[in-house]
Amino acid sequence: MDPEQVDEFVMGYLKKKGFNSAAKHLQESLHNNNGSTFSSIDYHNDPELNKLIRSFSQSENDPSRYREGYSKLRSWGYNSLDLYKHELVRVMYPVFIHCYMDLVGKGHTQEARSFFNSFRKDHEMVHLRDLQKLGGVLAPSHLQEMEFARSLRQSKINIKICQYSYDLLLQYLHRTESTLMLGIINEHINFQVYSGQPNSASDDIEAVTIVGSFHETADHVNQKEIHWGLLEDSLEDRLEKTGGLLSDSEKGQGESKAGDMDDSKKRSAEIGKQGSSIKKLKKDKAGTATTKVARQETSTVLSSMPRVKPELAMPVMSADVEESILEDLRNRVQLSSIAMPSVSFYTFVNTHNGLNSSSISHDGSLVAGGFSDSSIKVWDMAKIGQAGSCALQDENNQTVGLNGRRNYTLLVGHSGPVYSATFSPPGDYVLSSSADTTIRLWSTKLNANLVCYKGHNHTVWDAQFSPFGHYFASCSHDRTARIWSMDRMQPLRMMAGHLSDVDCVQWHPNCNYIATGSSDKTVRLWDVQTGECVRIFIGHRSMVLSLAMSPDGRYMASGDEDGTIMMWDLSTARCITPLMGHNSCVWTLSYSGEGSLLASGSADCTVKLWDVSSSTKLTKAEEKNGNSNRLRSLRTFPTKSTPVHALRFSRRNLLFAAGAISKPSS
């Protein structure tokens, strides 16, 4: 390059940037020295500097440079060797969105739009939701306003890349002198270079998720210690202690119930405890010996688990409730990939598109629905079953709907759509949350509203009782989750940290933690005692809709809008494996009593059963091999055209499902 030209560029640059005095000095010195060397750096002969200067001299505001640079980088990336391609392609997405935001930020709306539309196809498969959000950004002010865009701008994206790919990329950028792309990559991407072979394309889901400033904090947060063990002196423990009684009592029951079997078979519509006991009896007859062996196995496994002390003051359980739970646990059917559960389906009819949520009590006898007309309806299935079978005998029946009365309990009190209605573990309370920002507690015995909890500032999406009752957690559009106890009007704890709505909440079995799923595509685990976030689970590609904790407290499953279910290991905060199979929203998840099966219900009108026990065992062995895609879909139960809203494994491992029938779309 001509030295004088270079001087001109430098002058121009200095002037443009406002370094007027520097420019003046430069001019003077140029005049004085008449083109000879005037500084210690011989920038005329340094090719790198030359390039840099030239790139500065180019008109900075030319929007077509972005398109040019990106399309070159893109075609280079896609044409690279297959071995490194996926790593290089991974870089494209951040470059793409930052190019777009740069263009918008500089006010080239038109160019930004056309740039966005011509390349968005590449990323739609993985980042559809983000692109939908970003697509609306058209003015610099929107960038400032929109939280998602702001967090993208402020934070760096971590990308793991192997040494060779990294070198390739740098070489390419230098060779083609695409300083613009280099600038974007330097500014917004943080490469974590590792030596050795590149990872296989699919195993690192985290790598492609971009969640603002999460990653640094997530890594930090996930270092914290958590105790995922079950509580000391839990009911399972007590069951184990009374293990000696177990076989005797089982025999006794087997005999006593054998008589009932015939007539209870006839009334197969009557669900509830009866239903599970029928099931149980069948099962027992099939293989009493094997189940016993299995039971002992699991009990030893349970006892080997670490135990923790409760951090909350636990409510005292009444003796008869405890007895009934113990009874249920003793009669639990052992499920595995060979022994499948029975599924009883409650179908809501005539909901007129108004059913927002539904839930089933632990014994399956009560079903609650939260409706968009602010009402809650509770059905007692045991009563309906009886009414169906002995309607002729009961002539002065008050609750049965045969004579035109409704056969459910109507709970009215909310002033907005009810987004959740859940039962307390013994089934004596219903907790509901609504768009009117309140949570209400209802008694199923009195059929009346007991308390109205006010505290949230926005719609409360979900509220869940703790496994032992008394405490409950709620989550809201105001981006917080809160812990409450039934006897206080104010929340006990407030968990803030999610970057978007908190959509679902779930308690850990030991009551010391809650998990929350959010529209920011993460799941967080919070310590109930301190209110701190102790884990961040990153990997979902869309809003998290459902959560479930394994009964042993070690694993968690979360389902999202796209139909992906992820199994997480709580201690490492890593995804064990994604469970692919559903093709629409996963509304609900439930673990079986001993944690060997996971049931999922989805908007694609199916209930799926997943084998999670084998996988968790296998992963220990297979961790070295790096092959963990072992979780299998065991069964799919399609419904006629009923999206599955709620699932619940009873304590005896009968699976209850509920959903509102929708007309076929065709």
Partner: protein, 540 residues
Amino acid sequence: MSIVPKETIEVIAQSIGITNLSPEAALMLAPDVEYRVREIMQEAIKCMRHSKRTTLTASDVDGALNLRNLEPIYGFGSGGPIRFRKAIGHRDLFYTDDREVDFKDVIEAPLPKAPLDTEIVCHWLAIEGVQPAIPENAPLEVIRAPAENQIYQQKDGPLIDIRLPVKHVLSKELQLYFQKIAELTLSKSNPSLFKEALVSLASDSGLHPLVPYFTNFIADEVSRGLNDFLLLFNLMHVVRSLLQNPHIHIEPYLHQLMPSVVTCLVSRKLGNRFADNHWDLRDFTANLVALICKRFGNTYITLQSRLTKTLVNALLDPKKALTQHYGAIQGLAALGHNVVRLLVLSNLEPYLSLLEPELDAEKQKNQMKSYEAWRVYGAILRAAGLCIHDRLKIFPTLPSPSPSFPSKGKGKVISTEPNKRKLGVDSSENRSPHKRLIATDGSDGGPSPMQVDRPTGDANPPQNSVRPSSSEQASDGNAPESRNAKEKDDSKGRAITRKAILDQIWKDDLDSGRLLVKLHQLYGDRILPFIPSTEMSLFL
């Protein structure tokens, strides 16, 4: 630039009273409007998800506005979708159709029906991991189809694994249904109700568990009731309905069904009374067989070959009764022209020579036998004719009907008139099926094939009206004889006039032409009605 054009902003500004909005301002506002609308829609989608729905509704948008602390949209929600109309004179201007409602009409209108109250019904979705086949559950084979094109297909292990329960438990309702259908089929007393039952069989889902019972039932009844014509007909109707039902997976039971069906086609004797129109049943069954072959031929490859083998064996066995031959021919004809061409036409000459003595009235004294023989003759003529018709359709058509044709046809009709009457006489009892059998080109039921190729059918009705009276009177033993004699004379006469011309043209034709010549030699002019008029004109 933005999907909201600046004109929209201007129109909205005008509608709220801002008349002097500068174009720059509108241009600035447009992208912002788009951004806000997108924002609200994203919130609305959130509300939709929490309402556990996958379709966005107006209430979701209301919810989103509420979440954003915005004024809700006031006014009535209408049940239906908003209808936009085009403004006359403007290309891109639309407005919502807002009808004026008369208060009086609203007040006087009867109250709408109260909506049904929400209820819960429960059923077993699965019992120990197996889905029971009950009406509440999705029918099995309907599920399998969409599962194949699911987006996420896991390679290891099938997603859907539905086994029928080992113990086949029928619900009370299904048992009752089966009993009713069986009763209706056997009773034969209530045709209208039976028709309804057939419709139900052809359309109801959830009948799948009954299929084995139905196949058993049909097989039993067919083997038992060969003398009962109406029962057989009913049973075949049931088979047809079952085949039509899209929710039934009948393939595994086909091997049980086919023998019964084929029996109804080629059995020596169907029904015990003379009045039983077993020809009709054979025709119906032939179509049924063709339907089965068409539907399951792909998956069940040996089906058609086995079937045709059976039928051809029946046809070529001279010891078999003529009724059996008839069934075989009809079955083969229903299977398509290729089958006819390959199997029937190749055996046509020997077979016709076999049939000749039966047809000849002098040799065959038994009137019944002779009638049967003519029946078979008609069927084979029809099969061959349709086949040649199909062949000729491939020919390049020359749309130039010769002007002399109509007059010629007219003359022919007149010349054959007595002949036709005799034919009608002969089939005094089974006239209608015979007519339908032969009248293929959809004319109004000319009794002989001759009449069909006549371009104008106006001479027909008077003939028909005259015929019954005369036929009743002339119904005696020598009628068939006279007819045969007449016919022979007739065909001879006409053959002479035309054969020379036809042969001349066909000489340079392809093998289909030769085939036609051959057929013509065998049948005389009786084959001509099957030739499309344009081709006909070509030959003439």
